[in-house]
């Protein structure tokens, strides 16, 4: 029986594992989190998608893959490591009441009581609205959702949503009654407050702050898969540039599920899903355009604002450096335990350096080589 290994158990990885099991593969699914579900299904796979939890799939949770030789042998490898939030440094952003937008949501989903707490949500993207709606449902006082994108761009995007009535309805439902303001972004944080452009200093218990999502390309990059503009390069069957290695997900839930199924199925069953996947991809690209970061955000960090939280490197020490390499060597920026996963995407925006947070392997690791070594 051919074997498939899936790394990442969010919507994409779950759909991929299920589809691979449908075509008769022996499937193993690994995830770093204590439970399956990834970001959006943290706390439980919804009833409509329970079928993905096929009992024939071997599941191992709490396993983080950070090197090629940790990867168990398989005939086919499907990577579905999802996304993380982008954080942009501003004065005071390292204070403990400032969390990621998805970060605070994850904390509440995993047991943090939020009822009665004052929360300001800021940054960019549809995630802010989703987090606002979720936190309000759990009893938080969502004081303000401050979105950096200009009002004109959001208005245009909303007009385009008429073509996708289901999505418009979803957005309206999420946003109903929430104080949502465009052209607004964080200026500085002090203990117990946040100052928002155009809205002044707002007292709060927590700030949920995220500037969009970045793809977790570290593992595919480590295995030698081509990456372009922060995305893993794939063909229409979700194959990466390395034989037997597939990539799926890191988009909206709909697209992530479709990509997972396309990666997991055989060609015959995958092909009919291509048009829906391509449509979802186009929609995701429109979102990326509407919520692209405005240039003012490059000026938020002061010279003494920490950019690398692991090594406490201030922006002033980094910004004169030529490139990532010299920043690492001269200042230790990105050399700490997160390996540049937080400061990398920030400096990509602030300095225009490509967020190459992992050292690419000198010789791309080929799955066949790994398999041969162990056989």
């Amino acid at each position: 029986m051919p074997s498939t290994l899936v790394i990442g158990g969010g919507p994409a990885g779950l759909a991929a594992a299920w589809a691979a099991a449908q075509v008769g593969d022996q499937v193993t699914l690994l995830d770093d989190n204590p439970a399956l579900g990834g970001q959006i299904w943290r706390g439980g796979v919804p009833a409509a998608h329970q079928r993905f939890l096929d009992p024939s799939i071997t599941v191992r949770t709490g396993v983080q893959i950070h090197s090629a030789n940790q990867i168990p042998a398989a005939d086919r490898l499907i990577l579905a490591t999802g996304t993380r939030e982008r954080f942009l440094p501003f004065p005071g952003w390292t204070l403990p009441h400032i969390l990621g937008a998805g970060g605070l949501q994850a904390m509440v989903k995993s047991g943090l009581p939020i009822a009665g707490k004052r929360v300001v949500i800021t940054g960019t993207g549809p995630l802010l609205l989703a987090v606002g709606a979720y936190l309000r449902k759990r009893g938080a006082m969502v004081v303000l959702i401050a979105e950096q994108a200009p009002f004109s761009r959001i208005a245009q995007f909303t007009r385009e949503l008429w073509r996708e009535p289901a999505k418009l309805f979803q957005a309206a439902q999420l946003g109903w009654g929430l104080r949502y303001r465009a052209d607004a972004w964080p200026i500085r944080a002090d203990a117990g407050s946040i100052t928002i452009q155009g809205h002044g200093k707002i007292p709060c218990d927590y700030v949920a702050c995220g500037f969009g999502l970045v793809v977790n390309t570290e593992l595919p990059a480590l295995l030698g898969c081509a990456i372009d503009a922060g995305q893993v390069v794939t063909d229409s069957k979700q194959r990466t540039t390395i034989p037997h290695i597939y990539w799926a997900g890191a988009g909206s839930v709909d697209r992530s599920i479709l990509e997972g199924q396309i990666a997991g199925f055989d060609l015959e069953r995958a092909r009919p899903l291509y048009p829906a996947r391509d449509r979802a991809l186009r929609f995701d690209r429109r979102i990326d355009q509407a919520f692209r970061l405005r240039s003012e955000l490059s000026n938020l960090a002061a010279p003494d604002t920490i950019v690398c939280r692991c090594e406490d490197v201030p922006f002033g020490a980094v910004w004169q450096q030529r490139d990532w390499r010299s920043a690492k060597l001269q200042t230790r920026c990105g050399m700490g335990p997160c390996q540049g996963r937080i400061c990398g995407p920030a400096l990509e925006h602030l300095c225009g350096w490509p967020a190459s947070s992992v050292r690419p392997p000198i010789f791309p690791t080929r799955l066949e080589n790994l398999l041969d070594e162990r056989r």
Binding site: P96, H97, S110, G111
Partner: protein, 78 residues
């Protein structure tokens, strides 16, 4: 409910609660940065490493990726 201790203080949490969520209910800071700043969780998903604590004597464990288990002893640096 599950009983754990955080810096010697006893606390009851619901099953399925992560160590990070449990610590946040009683104190904002989890660790001191290399220059001495008080820090707490940022990403909530195992990437930033700001939520590291000592769990049953094991140092530098990511508390956001770990569920509370009965009798667990959590020690923070801050």
């Amino acid at each position: 409910m599950i009983r754990i201790t955080i810096n010697g203080r006893s606390l009851e949490v619901a099953a399925g609660t992560t160590v990070a969520a449990a610590v946040m209910t009683i104190q904002p800071g989890f660790r001191r940065s290399v220059s001495g700043e008080l820090r707490g969780p940022l990403c909530g998903m195992g990437i930033c490493m700001e939520c590291r604590v000592t769990l049953n004597g094991h140092r530098h464990e990511r508390s956001c990726q770990t569920l509370c288990t009965p009798g667990m002893e959590v020690v923070t640096d801050a």
